[in-house]
């Protein structure tokens, strides 16, 4: 049945923008993904931006935008995060919002709740579910910003003036807090304390996940005992999956769908996020870009698999061998070492496993355009 829905989607897309449809079937990695998500956006009836206009146009954020200009030329991460909002990159796809809306539409109208009216639905989605999608994006963006806080004690001359770093931190804290605060008031307006609790717990999960991320990704950590694959999955769920899983579940709760629908939605969000993270972790290892400088974090899935396969001793040797004269890591050397073993293929297998689990979960909903889009997204993350 998969090919059938695929061709259905491609037909529909063909009518709107013909030349891009082909990429659905080519395995071109991220661009394929971009296409699948942007096609899905059309189904839910809204163009890209879920970030509430109220928030983007507020005095506070215009203030930040003005101040951020002062950071141009410095190394503060807030600059690249802010740039990401303007230029189209993977972070700007707002795929979490799209998925929450698709999930809402795929689950359909509520049968249980009397206070929810079908005529309030726009493109088959309740207003509260749209607000939830927006809140999900707000929280995600808030943490993109808070991830870019710099430890001032680790400041070096090459970062630019310390004063600029302090200022960048100030702006990053404030704008992240502003987005989070708007998420909080938005959540309160949903009038459902179960949803408030669920999404608040997702914020807690995110914090814990990012905390682990910070301590695992450092280079020094490459020498100590790293995490095993099971721990990697747990931590990645916290940092990359919990928000989407819980938002999908919350979308079901808002339409008063039963526990089973909520479980299915959660499962889809969880497995899709894990698959998506595996896919992006694998990019440097599957891309055949010759000559381009490679760089990857030592906490990415293929490395975690590799370390578990070759053992701590061999890994330490390989790290030593990849050290240059200046005691820096030669990533292309390390990449070759990882590629020579089963780490990459194991990570690909795990990625497919999660993609399939997501596909499987979504079968619980009746066949529809929205469900097909969710299927396409789940399939896209297993393509390299």
């Amino acid at each position: 049945m998969l090919p059938a829905t695929w061709s259905r989607l491609s037909c529909r897309a063909l009518s709107t923008r013909g030349q891009r449809t082909l990429s659905l079937f080519s395995s071109s990695g991220p661009s394929n993904w971009t296409k699948v998500v942007s096609d899905a956006e059309k189904i839910v009836g809204y163009p890209t931006s879920f970030m509430s206009l109220r928030c983007l146009l507020s005095d506070e954020l215009s203030n930040v935008a003005m101040h951020v200009r002062k950071l141009v030329g410095t190394q503060h991460p807030l600059l690249s995060t802010a740039r990401g909002f303007v230029y189209d990159n993977r972070n700007n796809l707002q795929m979490r919002g799209v998925i929450v809306l698709l999930m809402s539409k795929a689950a359909g109208p509520s049968h249980a709740a009397s206070d929810l009216l079908a005529q309030d639905m726009v493109s088959g989605i309740y207003p509260s579910q749209r607000n939830l999608a927006e809140i999900t994006e707000l929280i995600h963006t808030a943490f993109l910003v808070h991830r870019g806080i710099v430890n001032l004690k680790e400041w070096t001359v090459s970062d630019g003036p310390l004063k600029d770093m302090e200022f960048g931190n100030k702006m990053a804290v404030l704008s992240g807090d502003f987005l989070l605060a708007n998420a909080c008031t938005g959540l309160a307006q949903l009038n459902n304390t179960k949803v408030v609790e669920l999404i608040s717990s997702a914020i807690g999960d995110l914090v814990q996940g990012i905390y682990n991320e910070n301590s695992n990704n450092t280079e020094e950590n490459g020498l100590t005992d790293g995490v095993d694959v099971a721990t990697w999955e747990e931590q990645t769920f916290l940092s990359h999956g919990a928000l989407l899983a819980k938002s999908c579940q919350a979308a079901m709760e808002l339409a008063k769908h039963d526990k089973e629908s909520q479980r299915v939605a959660y499962k889809y969000g969880k497995h899709l996020s894990l698959g998506h993270k595996l896919n992006s972790d694998l990019q440097p290892f599957v891309k055949s870009s010759v000559g381009e400088p490679v760089s990857f974090s030592l906490g990415t899935a293929p490395v975690v698999f590799h370390r578990q396969i070759v053992g701590q001793e061999r890994w330490r040797q390989q790290l030593q061998q990849a050290k240059t004269m200046r005691n820096q890591l030669d990533y292309s050397k390390l990449l070759a070492a990882v590629k020579s073993e089963k780490g990459v293929s194991s990570a690909v297998d795990l990625c497919c496993y999660h993609g399939n689990k997501a596909l499987e979960a979504i079968q619980a909903f009746p066949s529809s355009e929205a469900r097909s889009a969710l299927e396409n997204i789940a399939s896209a993350i297993t393509k390299f």
């Binding site: 808070h146 430890n151 001032l152 605060a181 909080c184 008031t185 959540l187 309160a188 009038n191």
Partner: protein
Amino acid sequence: MCWIIHKSRLLYPTLHSCCCKTIHSDAKLKDPFTLAQKDLTSLYDDIKKELFVSKEELKSLNRAGAIAMISEMIHTASLVHDDVIDGSDKRRGKRTINEVWGERKAILAGDFILSAASMALARIGNNTVVKVLSQVIEDLVRGEFMQLGSKENENERFKHYLEKTFKKTASLIANSCKAVSILVNSDPEVHEIAYQYGKNVGIAFQLVDDVLDFTSGASQLGKPTAADLKLGLATGPVLFACQQFPELHAMIMRRFSSNGDVDRAWQYVLQSDGVQQTNYLAQRYGQEAIRQISMLRPSPERDALIRLTEMVLTRDK
């Protein structure tokens, strides 16, 4: 926080005139902290439990107690972030989180406390209460943003200062008072009294704080004096002083960033009656708080809240 429990004989309309007698008669003095001690002793343990176990057993915590806990958590989260924003290395005489653990972890810690507070808030199960306290979180951030800018016009500047003070300090107290009143009472008039009491006490508290920044020694407040000036902030005493010494205007606009600005501004403030005027303003907010709370029927708790207002006004650290 139990002054609103009795629904029937709640409003006590004739008290406006005699509230002062209550305050000054020693026999009736209730120390607010003694009165609430039983509830407060377990508060910090409750917060710790919330952060680390967060399980069913905590549902037994009474709901007003939960609000008290949540406001403390929201307050703490905002302090942790403020210390990063201001680059402070000391808070109440102790090293700040960013000083000990670095800015990244400090921000995450603040976010984590906020998420735990928000979960506890949701578990109370009352949508209105969730809205009232979420407003606080938004006010805190907006207040912090207001602190970034200075206004050219003097009248606007004062309005800006009071609004910032409400958002950064008083909103939390006002809305927490409102939230507990909503939980135990259905009368909107009582909610408004609770809100107004909290708002006025909160603003009075901050005005006194701003005065102490000029008058208190470093040892007492646990942070170096004139800390606000050093951060580039013009608080009440400076704004009043500016009416007498227009030279301050330029310094306010450049946020005391030129060499010697902080010392010069400090001198101007001490020569002016900025401190007295700010104190006077604080007294007026305090009186309004007392007037508001006196509309509730008499109870040891109500008298304690009146006494608390007095303590806020007379504290020297």
